[in-house]
Symmetry: C2
Subunit: 590 residues, 2 copies
């Protein structure tokens, strides 16, 4: 491709393009019109209704005061609207990240202390800086090392953990426990303390929310409502539960009868807060912040990609990192805690017609109004109702079918999923997801360290070569051809040597060994040295080593080494050439 | 293969075979005769002469009393003779492992304290248990993750570190420092304290040893000695230096003039010692012991393999782990410290004609005699002479050409070597080698996460398909064929999706996408889900997805999923079939 020489004008053009790439709002805002505004406003109203109870509930899950959930749903959304690329992603507090925040901050201080809150704010800051750095250094690919089954297993196990952690609020008891067994033990030990009024409210909310999810939508549709409206009304279930329960608690004075309520929620816009800059806290939170960043990014980018694909749009993963990074930094400076793009909320935003990130900004305005006007009403909101909304939301994340699917398809993936689920449940979210990632990588390395190698022969009447164990093929006793089904690199260099030496020991008349390299995408320095050793060893035994079907980039690199000079045999373009030449040579020698 | 039904006799036979595999001495001792005995005895005498100064010197390097070097050269050799498979490997203290021992024990206590000695003994025990466990669980493949360049870089950097650490003994000064800069700083700071008599002895020894290595052999050969004898006499250089220096120190009373000498070395056979079983010490030494085990195993197995190959013998890596494990456990119970197979010593053993591991047992007898008879003579041995033998030995390990070779061949390998060398020199052996391994693995994963993908077309007049960017090929605007040069797995699943979506966006008339899978050796669950997503997305755009040249094992697995049912297109056996069918279809549609 040729491009004109840069003139002052095209340079300016270039830097404007670049600015637009890093600040996407400059791009989409130029085409913003009244139609788009209407779509975005409608979506924002619906998401706001959904987000108010969620933000309170997830703050409860994170062990933080309810207003921090609201604060985390204001400035972070504005920041994402400026820097994010997804048209439909709804950023804010989400269940899994809230659980991870609780786990990380819980290692620093006890829930309810100022140190705990400071840890959560600092976590948002660190996570924001990491996301931003990953975006600027284009490290988004790191998220690829979380395999789909590991993510699925982690989300499922987190869902189970989160649901279990909320049972105490439904029962109105005090119970601790940081893993599944501890939580269940705590619940069983305090079962006698169950607060019956709280249980009644909690159970009723659960039943109501499940019914809204399963039963309301069909009912509304059979009542003649259009499907989208029915769907959206069903999403308002949690807000209805919140409103009804507040009314009930006020009317019957249930707060005086022992029902735990949210209590005083400060009225007003988010305060300016500062993360801690204590190096010891940073080092204590480093790994947790990294895990929160990566998990948050993966969750967010997968929903953003799915939604973008439906409208044939694209998102830019590295710019998404910048967007989420900016959101988390905004959360840290405005009394919030780690946020990311939520799955359910984004789908609602998309279905409601959000066309640009401005929908998120309007949602932030909605939440600001809630912070200014609605907080006094929240005093009597029972914690049991928030717990019920969490349980109903996260149970939809639980999908154990991944175990069956991986078991059928690939035992290696199954092992990774099973380990992730078990360790997340029993040892906590951080150990669970780290072990899943480590196990996936180790098993991939193990697999590539013992590659599939087939001894091949010519399929009669063709120029094709196939595995001698699977097909009826022609071979020459003096020529052994091995097709190596893997790149050659340090982890399998020794394996290759062993394999060839073993093959040579057992058969005596061999004069030629051909390595068919059609699936060898790389030969690194270790493998090169192994090939050199094989070549020397075979020469001593008066056996020639040949290569065939070496790929262009691999050949380019081999030419830079001495290997081709020292090679006792030849490099054949095709395996058929090798076969023809060597068979003739072997027969002439007889 | 069919095998007869097991009878009581063949069962017994089987268990005897199995016992012989795990205790190789039962195998080779049956064929032991007088000729073999003579060869082994000659080799043992020569290795003993070489090992006496080495065992003292390496104990000095490890910061341990000299007798521990001798003890580490007795029982461990007997243990290896029973359990090892290499005919020529000479086990005992070696330079790199001694340095690693000093680094690990130095983290626990100061040199010269009983705690330091206990840490070294415990390190031998832990390392022995780990090696044994790796052998029994067949985890020898783990050593493959140390790439050749990383090992080469690590050995080179260790050689530089070791040589530098000995300079203080040559100068007769006290100087500390745990990394290269610290050591050089320490030497420069104390240069004024240089003990001139010590320096004279040290410099003379260095000059003598270098001359023996470079000049003596040619001299002896020109004097008419046969090459092997000349070579072996040259190997006795360190023993001559030791003997001469002891005589000089005694004759001129140099010990009273400030020359540091070895001093009292207890006379007698190795004492029974016990490793510590304190859990805190175990956890402190765990990582160090693991690194010592792996590095020791890699060093040992590579020399054993090289030597075995010269006589067309084989060693069994997993059994070698058992042999080295037994040696290290023996070291822990007999006052020794971590041992492994040494490179230089094993080559001497091999050249001297060692035919079975019995040569090692005879060497142990030689060292026992030294422990009983020679220790009083060692009182006046100057430490500077031991330091000189170490420096001369390790400088032969230093080979910076690996930097140039990797730079030419493969920048990824170069980065791993450079990082290993720099970090070993500046941050220590443990961080250096760990970083090298981690970097190699990460870069391999990164590379496979962005595989080479070529869009291919038909080479006219053939059935071959080549990269459209490198060759003049035939293509159909309605058919896009992508050849993927890598297994598809979690780390590149997202990459594949992005790649195909990008390709689809820019060209409109596409009706068929073919993925040519000739180099795809594996499709894991994550990649399967990506393929399903691609299939769905393309279907929405009315584009069919096809596969071609799918390998047998990959196809077997795909058949266990729903993917083939949902696939919008077909699976073609060869790319040519795909081309013929789809081109015809596309033309018919026009």
């Amino acid at each position: 491709m040729s491009s004109p020489l840069p003139t002052p004008r095209s340079k300016r053009q270039f830097s404007t393009d670049r600015l637009r790439r890093h600040v996407p709002i400059l791009d989409w805002s130029r085409r913003y019109d009244r139609t788009t505004l209407t779509s975005d406003l409608v979506a924002a109203v619906i998401v706001t209704i959904m987000l108010i109870p969620q933000s309170l509930a997830y703050a409860l899950l994170a062990g933080l005061p309810p207003e921090m959930g609201i604060y985390a749903s204001i400035l972070p959304l504005l920041a994402y609207a400026v820097f994010g690329t997804s048209r439909a992603l709804a950023v804010g507090p989400v269940a899994v990240v809230s659980l991870m925040t609780a786990a990380a901050a819980g290692k620093i201080a006890a829930q309810g202390t100022p140190e705990y809150i400071a840890a959560a704010i600092t976590l948002a800051f660190l996570s924001g800086v990491m996301l931003l750095a990953m975006g600027l250094f284009r490290l988004g690919f790191l998220a690829n090392f979380l395999s789909h089954p590991v993510i699925a297993g982690f989300i499922t196990a987190s869902g189970i953990l989160i649901a279990t952690s909320q049972v105490k609020h439904i029962l109105g008891i005090q119970a601790g426990g940081s893993n599944l067994i501890g939580m269940i033990g705590g619940i069983v030990a305090h079962l006698g303390d169950t607060q019956l009024t709280t249980l009644a409210i909690g159970a009723a909310s659960l039943a109501f929310l499940f019914w809204v999810r399963r039963g309301l939508k069909p009912l509304l549709r059979s009542a003649g409502l259009p499907p989208r409206l029915a769907d959206l009304l069903a999403k308002a279930g949690p807000v209805m539960a919140v409103a009804l329960s507040i009314l009930a608690v006020r009317a019957f004075g249930l707060a005086d009868r022992g029902v735990a309520v949210v209590g005083d929620v400060p009225t007003g816009l988010p305060p300016l807060t500062l993360p801690s800059f204590a190096p010891s806290l940073w080092s204590d939170l480093f790994v947790s912040a990294l895990l929160i960043s990566v998990i948050g990014f993966v969750e967010s980018v997968s929903v953003a990609q799915t939604l973008a694909a439906k409208r044939r749009q694209r998102i830019v993963p590295d710019q998404e990192l910048v967007g989420l990074g900016a959101s988390n930094i905004a959360a840290a400076f405005s009394g919030g805690y780690p946020v990311t793009g939520g799955f359910a909320r984004s789908v609602v935003n998309f279905d409601a017609g959000a066309e640009t990130p401005a929908a998120g900004a309007f949602t932030a305005v909605g939440l600001s109004l809630a912070a200014l006007l609605l907080t006094p009403l929240l005093f009597f909101l029972p914690k049991a109702v928030l717990a019920a909304t969490i349980i109903v939301a996260v149970l939809s994340l639980v999908d154990l079918s991944i175990l069956r699917r991986t078991w059928t398809y690939n035992r290696v993936d199954f092992a990774a999923v099973a380990a992730t689920i078990l360790l997340t449940l029993l040892a906590g979210v951080e150990i669970g997801v780290s072990a899943g990632v480590a196990l996936s990588i180790l098993m991939f390395l193990y697999k590539t360290s013992r590659p599939h190698v087939a001894e091949v022969g010519l399929v009669p009447g063709t120029q094709h070569f196939r595995n001698i164990r699977r097909h009826r093929v022609e071979t020459d006793p003096a020529v052994v051809t091995m097709r190596i089904d893997e790149s050659l690199y340090f982890a399998n260099a020794a394996f290759l040597q062993d394999l060839i030496y073993d093959r040579i020991v057992c058969d005596q008349p061999i004069r030629h060994v051909v390595l068919m390299c059609s699936a060898v995408n790389e030969i690194d320095m270790s493998a090169l040295e192994s090939l050199e050793a094989i070549n020397t060893r075979l020469s001593e035994l008066d056996i020639k080593l040949h290569l065939s079907e070496v790929k262009g980039p691999v050949m380019d690199r081999l030419k830079r080494s001495h290997f081709l000079v020292e090679l006792s045999g030849e490099v054949f373009l095709s395996q058929y050439d090798a076969h023809t030449a060597l068979t003739a040579q072997a027969q002439a020698a007889e």
